[in-house]
Symmetry: C2
Subunit: 407 residues, 2 copies
Amino acid sequence: MQPDKLFSRSARLMQPSPIRRMAGLVNQPGVISFAGGMPNPATFPDKDLRRILDEIVERDGSRIFQYGITRGLPEFCELLAGLLTKRGVTIGDGQGLMVTNGSQQGLNLVSQVFLDPGDVVLVESPSYVGALACFRNHQAELVGVAQDEDGIVPEDLAEQAATLAAAGKRVKFLYCIPNFQNPSGVTITPARRARIVEIARRHGFLIVEDDPYGELYFSGVKPGDIRPLKALPEGEDVIYLSSFSKVVTPGLRTAYLAGPEWVIARLELAKQAADLCSSSLDQRLIYEYCRRGLYEAHLQEVRDFYDVKCQAMLKAMEQSMPAGITWTRPRGGMFLWGTLPGGMDAEALAMEAVQHLRVAFIHGGPFFVDGTGQNTFRLTFAKEDVPAIEQGVRLLADFFLSKVAAL
Amino acid sequence: MQPDKLFSRSARLMQPSPIRRMAGLVNQPGVISFAGGMPNPATFPDKDLRRILDEIVERDGSRIFQYGITRGLPEFCELLAGLLTKRGVTIGDGQGLMVTNGSQQGLNLVSQVFLDPGDVVLVESPSYVGALACFRNHQAELVGVAQDEDGIVPEDLAEQAATLAAAGKRVKFLYCIPNFQNPSGVTITPARRARIVEIARRHGFLIVEDDPYGELYFSGVKPGDIRPLKALPEGEDVIYLSSFSKVVTPGLRTAYLAGPEWVIARLELAKQAADLCSSSLDQRLIYEYCRRGLYEAHLQEVRDFYDVKCQAMLKAMEQSMPAGITWTRPRGGMFLWGTLPGGMDAEALAMEAVQHLRVAFIHGGPFFVDGTGQNTFRLTFAKEDVPAIEQGVRLLADFFLSKVAAL
């Protein structure tokens, strides 16, 4: 057989994530890891989940194990609608909701429903690599939009949109992670959110708002700071994705998306052909977990858990990082983002650090779509405990100092 | 917003299954249903699954709830490889394996990796509507291949392949369900399997072998009758899909596919962008269920369960169906296939039957890609018990008799 003759054009373009190449090194014992992007398993409420599992399987028996509805278990969807109401997003009245296998499936279905080869997707610079891979698999052209400590820069968004329109390009949507972004830790300010929605409407493209971290806010954050773009007066066409992966457990593949019914109806058809339905067991388990009020109480614990680690990392950074290195101050989520002096190669440093220093972090280049960001890096505070965070940051600071001094 | 301007070309083509329109009627209480395609929940081993769930969550704790590997839980993949060995399919030595969320996801990933718009997929006439929808969503051109009581007609396959090649069309693969096919209940004979593999090799297209029903054979079937095309000496390029949906439970979305490593590696990249990984809980649950030897014992029970129902349906058909109506004699699976005299409209009859007779079946037209099959229908014996099967067939026979007499 001749693979290259048989593969589709998109399959021929598929590439393993450049970050995955480091995975083998990162997970070695003895390595302090600021790499990876997984939630800390210490936050998983496995005792509660075990008890609920036992009760629901006893109570519901074989009903649990039958095929489910493509949009999701009806009572679960109702609960999710209630959860979204608290964030200011109303389902019904032309708005719909669907359960997906993680938000990654939501992103893939959105890509399938909106992207033809050559269509433009606007993405934050930097952005989540899993989303970039998904859009690339649908042969989209990815265009980066500038981002600073306040999130997407509206002026740049408007300018990019105008330039692309003038060049005859078709922008289908802006993909953004407004709260405690992966990878940057940055949050878009309320004022900018309103402007972004307004720019999208004016230029006729959609917004795909990915919000896996919104519930993971730290002390001092007010609801108004992180209100979804979809909750804005003109946000009805926004497609909003959220997930239980970071706040309960990712092994249960249970996320959800909300959007205008004309979008959800089409996404439902795409999901039906993509996998018929999501796991009944996973959905019922998360449903019961929420219904019993355990989710809200658990959330507060998880927020505190990551808040402590984040503050420890930020404090250690302040104390030890050499001049010339800057970083973001996340107010939630799992990540912070660093920038080395221009010309430094974060990828080479990451490789050297994990091998010789036994401290792992992720180089920033792959999070950009334009080849920039070679001097940037991502740190997660999710995995290690506070002493390891302090030790790791100190080691990293000394390491960076030696490299900056050698410039 | 202007949906039609924003949707992708494939999204604009997506259509709800014509079968789904009947779903509301079929599921009314009091209806004897030979429609639907779900396994009977009485076959789900929920007591065993409950016990295992409790044990594995206690033993493995939060490990169960973390993100998993895209290809699937390693120990589960190893077990699946052993299971395939028993069917004559060897993993390793250039062959790989991956876990999917039901075989529907496998079909969608295969479509994504192989199909560009306009590529041809050869399908059995009739074939599984969920697969047809999936291929259509990737803008494939579907071409039907003749099928009789012995399965795909090799002469027709060869002729179609030659005609398509002469017309400059690019055939990417043949999609087939060789054992107890949905919808026809037909099984491809061993002699024809060898010829089909040979024709595919000669014409340079792949075979996608979907085998959800192979383990559901009835008494009298020998292993040699249903050996996978992939197990044939020249079958190494065959992509083979199988699933636990019909033989354990479909609510746990746990299926698997095997194929040449060059295919699996690309499918893995596609799955990574499609949903990162399958449910850890579902995989561990099925893994433990198999590892403890419960699967083999359970299979025999499920086979007997459906065998009894099938024989009851066949016997009732023999006794009561009027002349001019023919049907297949399935040796496994969940379906049999009927043909009414030419010119009769099975869709109108199905609608009338469910409304007035309170007996539901599915019209055959949507299972064909060329607009034929208007006088065909599918019956499942999976759902009803033997008395209901006997009663339903008798009612249906009288109903058909009145319609045939009126011709």
